[in-house]
Subunit: 229 residues, 2 copies
DNA sequence: GCAAAAGTGTTTTCATTACACCCATGT
DNA sequence: ACATGGGTGTAATGAAAACACTTTTGC
């Protein structure tokens, strides 16, 4: 098997830090490895890049295998290639992160994983390989980008409340935000659509439901609007 | 030669966008290729990453071979791995940029290059492979980072005038800055050292010479200072 | 009627912008 | 004396921050 030989000398993989948001917590989809090395340990989902795949396709495939979903926000972050990062040989990995709506997903057990679970970002420790470093590098990048691009919405259901959006920002940025100022800023951007719909089944005044309006955003951009939180 | 076989199936390289600054222009060090593919065309300096090198080392080696210098600011930017980006097989390249002081450098002819030259960033067109895209991806990253970190100094001689610094920012950001406001902002950061030295040999009032003071910067950071231009 | 989160405006504070003239040197 | 870039301060503007109470619903 020539591929095996080659693999253990030098190979490329992609690893995908799949972010989701639930309740008030940012989560990452991790797998428990079924095979050596690092059998039984938690790790990022990833795969060897096949010769006929582009890098982004590799990252999308990882996601699709695990969750069945496609068309998500995906961003390449960094490549990790320390000589000794993989105990079986030289493997350079290209790290991506994806943003998905947890509610859209039914996790599929994957062949290479004993378990697949959403883990709270703050509870993550001790991952296989250099995956801990990868997760935190991606988190740092997410923190930067969420302030500069309207990508937070990718983590929320189609329709969401402003409080949910605020909690999302707070959990990613790890800082509290002022409710009034946050709402003022977001609403003044004029990139949300209000559906004349309210939350139901909550034991308090129901909140208005909004969705991100891509058309409005594109229009605003043409008029010189620059997203920034 | 097993390496050759493997190389032409799948390999990884580093490419280094080496930025320099001279006069009022941002420059990039390019080579004219001596060998196929793309013989005679301008390209980025790069190299195959040897199995025993970390990625950063690969990028530093490229720089060292070409200029003899070490200890420069280096940053990984993005990996490019489109299936067809290299006509001879699958080659994934990891792009870096470096910031160097042109005055420190005596360009060495490299074995793989017919010529090596500093090219004005605005004059660059039609590079080999996907190197044009790589240059512009790195430039975009530099534009972002130069606002958020005190790295502009890496492109200037040890001692520089405030006008030189301003011109540097203007050429990278491609926008004019107000002289008084720029100086006020930079000086108020308190991260420069004034040497009680002036420019000499200029046909106008000589400017004060400053250098970036790393100690002051570290101290300021500890007091919560965040660099931003 | 009580608990729980939604919703809402104004003032203060601070950073950014705009702007024009005198100064020191070489030729 | 003139050309060239160096050096400087203040007022106006606008964005961000601080801050507390009323509203609507379910139980």
């Amino acid at each position: 098997m020539p591929f095996q030989n080659e693999f253990y000398k030098s190979a490329f993989s992609v690893d995908n830090v799949i972010f989701g948001f639930e309740g008030e917590n940012l989560k990452v989809l991790l797998i428990k490895r079924k095979e050596e090395p690092y059998r039984g340990e938690w790790a990022l989902p990833g795969d060897i890049v096949q010769p006929e795949w582009n890098l982004d396709e590799g990252a999308r495939n990882v996601l699709k295998q695990l969750t069945g979903i496609e068309n998500v926000y995906l961003e390449q972050v960094h490549s990790f290639g320390d000589v000794n990062r993989h105990p079986r040989g030289r493997v350079i990995t290209i790290a991506y992160y994806s943003l998905i709506k947890i509610s859209d997903v039914d996790i599929k057990p994957a062949s290479f994983a004993e378990k697949v679970e959403w883990k709270d970002i703050r509870s993550i420790e001790n991952l296989a390989f250099d995956h801990y470093e990868i997760v935190h590098t991606c988190l740092k990048r997410l923190r930067l980008n969420i302030k500069l691009r309207p990508i937070g919405f990718e983590l929320l259901p189609e329709k969401f409340t402003l409080t949910e959006l605020q909690k999302l920002y707070e959990s990613i940025l790890e800082q509290d935000l002022d409710k009034r100022n946050f709402r003022k800023k977001i609403l003044s951007m004029n990139i949300l659509r209000y559906h004349n719909e309210l939350q139901t089944g909550v034991a308090h005044r129901p909140a208005k439901l909004y969705s991100f309006d891509d058309e409005k955003y594109e229009e605003a951009k043409e008029n010189g609007f620059i997203f920034e939180v």
